[in-house]
Amino acid sequence: MKWTFSLSKFKGRRLTQFQAEEMVSDYINGQLDPERKAAFEKAVIEFPRLRDLIESYRQGQVYAQKLAMIRPSEELKKSILRPETVIDQALERVNFSKWPKSLRMSLEILSVAAVIATVSVLIPWEQLTSLKFGRSGDIVLAEISRQFDIPQEQGLPALSASPEEDSFPDESENEELSPTTSVQVAATAITTTTLVPLNRPVQAVAAIKPAPVLASTTTQVERRLGSLFRGAIHVINARAASQKITQRLSELGGRKAGEVEMGWEREKDLFYYHFTIPEDKYDQLSSLFSEFGSLRLSKERHERVMPEGIIRLIIVVEDKSRGRQ
């Protein structure tokens, strides 16, 4: 750095060691004006450390020159110049950058189109479109983690219902067998129910064993069974009683569990109740029916699992006169 301005006050003034030390590089590089140079040289005589610094600075310059002479090998230079990716290397090999611009553009567009076409062919669109993202077509009545450990060799649960109670095909059976209204939790029963004719008595259902292949499939699926109460009651004037029963059941929190309303007249003077009710209303339910007659209820295991605290019942209210006919 060249000192270009005049420092009249400097003339004749002594440099301190600190000032002189700051001037070492300018002195060596010949950037001091004559007055400062003379003052610096006087300071060098006065402060021996300055000579030391001048020597160090010169040695530093020599070493810096040597550092500047360090050269990378040709191999290293090539590796630095070499494009990083395989594609870049290939493009360099064919001198892609020197091709006509229109040709390069066309090739790039073609490559992009090819990639898009490949991806669109490889994507399993059918599987993607079949995904309903939570909008399942199945009606999920209940999902519950409660499960019963049924020994595998036991097969279907033993049914305690008397033949006359199940000798008619009730609508709940139809509902459970219908594929269009399948219940999610009932999926484990498919192997047996699909083999059973709709109007077959329940006892016969229990006797039919699933085919081995299907059975093995069934055992792979976690078996979760619920329960169903079945019963029948013979009353005088079933029509009038049915109306009252329907009303009282609604008051108790009963809700239809199948497709038909509670108290559906299945046949003349025969009313059908397929409903759910809170478990804690069971006693009130019993007392309700006891007002009209003797209700016989039996509990059986069933594929349909109800939420905790809810029971499902199928009760047939039949006019006593039907029995005499």
Partner: protein, 156 residues
């Protein structure tokens, strides 16, 4: 970009890191940028442009570079040095010197970029640059003085 420019880039990162692998990677990135800018042509580079790029890379990788420098152990096999050159002096200097002094020293004293370009790109005054350079020269000179140095490994 000329051969000399590639050598300068490589030397800057090598002396900054003393690790030829890291230096080669960083140099390759800088060269790649320069080639892209010049559309693959090896044309002559503007000094300011190169200094700016080196400094921006240095600032971008400052943390990593400082970590690399803390474990300095020069690998020197892909480099040729003048006779009786002792890399250990520079290694010691590099360990003892703040990176704010080392970078101007490398750019001005070793790579011979002009003081003006370096001071402007480092955003420091010429006086500050001169002061830092003097400190660097004195330190490395002090280490390399024959009567003082006990560092072995000449011409390693």
């Amino acid at each position: 970009m000329q051969d000399k420019d590639i050598e300068r880039i490589a030397l800057f990162f090598f002396l900054l890191t003393l690790d030829q692998n890291v230096a080669a990677q960083l140099s390759s990135q800088v060269v790649d940028i320069l080639l892209r800018r010049s559309k693959g042509q090896l044309k002559e580079l503007n000094e300011r442009e190169l200094v700016r790029l080196l400094i921006s890379f240095f600032l971008k990788n400052k943390k990593t570079l400082q970590q690399v420098r803390s474990e300095i152990m020069p690998h020197f096999k892909d480099w040729s040095a003048p006779d009786k050159f002792n890399i250990n002096i520079y290694r010691e200097f590099s360990k003892r010197t703040d990176i704010e002094i080392l970078v101007p020293f490398l750019l001005c004293a070793v790579l011979q970029f002009s003081d003006e370009s370096v001071s402007q790109e480092l955003n420091i005054t010429k006086g500050t640059l001169a002061s830092r350079l003097q400190k660097a020269y004195l330190k490395i000179g002090d280490l390399s003085r024959p009567e003082r140095t006990s560092l072995s490994g000449v011409n390693s």
